[in-house]
């Protein structure tokens, strides 16, 4: 019987999140002296399975035509069936929309308890404890999960991958799922965004409400292009409709972990910091020297962004 199960979405492949999730799973399993199983749900990329084998003791592939496209009810039924069979002590998921959507429901169906947005998971007094930011990142709480299994979605992207080991076995599981006809996907849309995903980006340029409108965001995009960086934004800028919601970084947006995060006209509210705290270097341009963002910066410039962006873009364009 495995003690830890890590749930991966087949379509996502072996991205940084999947690697971090298996890394966290491996560490937890080792602390328990038990095994790690990876459960891969939905259409699968064979290269990802190979990679998963070197991290987990066993990879369980759950394939079913009902899982071809994401549907919470079908995915939940699949996870409940597999995790029910494996009867683990802990079930770990990543920090994508699907994981966040399913965690608590899965815990409920398995008779366990759940926590989310964990930056650490450990066992104490026989219970799994999840460490997470609360009160918008102003405080840290350690949540003890009383019922087994403990189902936790974690900030996997910031976690170290598992060291490679002899490949584990692969089991193909066919569940014979019954179609849940209550909910069906009728349309979907991906925002046009070039380059790598924000969560995987090594360089990020981010804009806030201080930019004052969508126009300056285009200027900022020119800077990002000169740097080879991805674009992001604060919640205030997304709420204002200047940029798509999928650009939002923070407690309720993306959790990013780039080498460099450049925040332009962002105040640095604790909820924003929650999404960027794992960045290696944070740097800001803000005209207010007392803006809280500077408390998190390695270096910064106190200036009006309007005077800085143009010349900075030109300079960095030369370097490139």
């Amino acid at each position: 019987m495995p003690d830890v199960v890590a749930c991966l979405w087949g379509r996502a492949g072996m991205d940084r999140a999947a690697q971090g999730l298996l890394g966290a799973g491996r560490r937890l399993a080792e602390s328990l002296g038990e095994k790690l199983h990876a459960v891969v749900v939905g259409p699968v990329d064979p290269a990802a399975v190979e990679a998963a084998r070197t991290a987990a003791d066993k990879v369980v592939l759950v394939e079913d035509e009902l899982l071809a496209e994401y549907n919470a009810e079908n995915y939940l039924a699949a996870l409940t069936a597999v995790c029910g069979q494996l009867a683990p002590r802990a079930v770990l998921l990543g920090n994508d929309v699907y994981s966040q959507e399913l965690t608590a429901r899965l815990a409920h169906r398995l008779g366990g308890s759940a926590a989310g947005d964990a930056v650490d998971v450990a066992i104490a007094d026989g219970q799994l404890r999840a460490t997470r930011g609360v009160y918008g990142g102003k405080a840290t709480a350690v949540i003890a999960l009383a019922k087994t299994p403990a189902v936790v979605w974690i900030r996997a992207r910031a976690m170290a991958p598992a060291p490679a080991r002899a490949p584990g076995e692969v089991e193909l599981l066919s569940l014979g799922l019954a179609q849940d006809s209550r909910v069906s996907l009728i349309s979907s849309h991906a925002d046009a965004k070039e380059g790598v995903r924000l969560e995987e980006a090594r360089l990020i340029v981010s804009g806030g409400r201080g930019l004052g409108g969508p126009g300056p965001f285009e200027q900022l995009q020119a800077l990002a292009a000169a740097m080879g960086a991805q674009m992001a934004a604060s919640r205030a800028a997304c709420d204002a409709g200047w940029v798509p919601a999928s650009w939002q970084v923070g407690q309720t947006g993306k959790k990013v972990a780039p080498e460099l995060y450049l925040a332009v006209a962002i105040s640095g509210a604790s909820q924003h910091i929650m999404g960027i705290a794992d960045s290696k270097v944070i740097c800001a341009i803000n005209r207010d020297p007392d803006a809280p963002i500077f408390k998190h910066c390695r270096f910064g410039l106190v200036e009006d962004y309007q005077k800085v962006i143009g010349p900075l873009t030109a300079k960095l364009g030369q370097h490139a």
């Binding site: 959507e101 930011g133 019922k147 006809s181 991906a190 080879g228 919601a245 309720t252 800085v308």
Partner: protein, 265 residues
């Protein structure tokens, strides 16, 4: 359409970090001089409901679970023209997520029939983000998370829901009843109540159901999870402010630093 909106009262999340303290023994934030406010995602949920009712008709019932002070968020919802308000009177200060979901489910069952239950995607205090999912399980309905809007579906008894994903959006059609968790979007920025409506809201009736009437056992709180520790992390980063005699010199300094990092990766 019969819409139920669950709302939560929280400590104002906008209080600056320097004014924020926790009571380590009680394992919760100190109230201090901070206001109690409606959780912002619950406001987004109510706004979404108001827009749907304005366009398609129906009734909105707001429900909260908490002590007497939670009446305030219900009054505000009534000022925004919610049709009815229900307080599920609970003496518990830090209820665990399953306890909240069970209490809400018990209250909602008394309000049947309903088409859809809206909740905020998470609360600005504990941010557990579990109420919607657990509520759907308790009520045996499907659940769609992170929605920005919803509308009547292709036939009666169905709804269309648009929700945010990691890189865009997805549209679903679902049967009713359904639980939806609402996230922020530029289309559901909460409206502000008129002063006159705020005054009138205090004259509107407000239903109160104590836990005993809902068949909820107070002792069952904590069986799901509990807070083992709560503290304010200390993190000191020293920011080097780039200087220069001219704007150009400052920009040069910044460009140098950024280029150095870019080259190193």
């Amino acid at each position: 359409m019969n819409i139920i909106v669950c709302i939560k009262q929280i400590l104002d999340p906008e209080i600056p970090a320097r004014d924020f303290r926790v009571d380590g023994a009680k394992r919760q934030a100190e109230r201090g001089s901070a206001n109690l406010v409606t959780n912002i995602f619950c406001e987004n949920a109510l706004e979404t409901a108001l827009q749907v009712r304005d366009a398609h008709g129906g009734k909105i019932t707001v429900v909260t679970c908490g002590g007497v002070e939670a009446e305030e968020v219900l009054r505000k919802a009534l000022a925004l023209k919610a049709d009815e308000a229900v307080l599920l009177e609970s003496p518990i200060e830090n209820p665990d997520p399953l306890f909240v979901a069970r209490t809400l489910a018990a209250g909602i069952r008394k309000l049947e029939p309903f088409d859809v239950v809206l909740v905020g995607r998470e609360a600005g205090d504990w941010g557990a983000g579990q109420t919607g999912g657990l509520l759907a399980e308790e009520l045996s309905t499907p659940c769609i998370a992170f929605a920005e809007s919803f509308a009547p579906g292709t036939e009666p008894g169905r709804l269309q829901v648009k929700r945010q994903t990691d890189n865009g959006w997805e549209g679903f059609e679902s049967s009713t009843p359904l639980v939806i968790t609402i996230t922020n979007h530029d289309k559901n920025v909460p409206r502000i109540p008129k002063t006159r409506d705020v005054m009138q809201s205090y004259r509107k009736p407000l239903t109160k159901w104590p836990l005993a009437e809902l068949g909820i056992d107070v002792d069952s709180n904590g069986g799901y999870s509990h807070i083992a520790d709560l503290f304010v992390p200390v993190k000191e980063t020293h920011c080097e402010f780039l200087s220069g005699d001219t704007l150009e010199a400052k920009v040069d300094a910044l460009a140098e630093r950024l280029a150095g990092i870019i080259r190193s990766i």
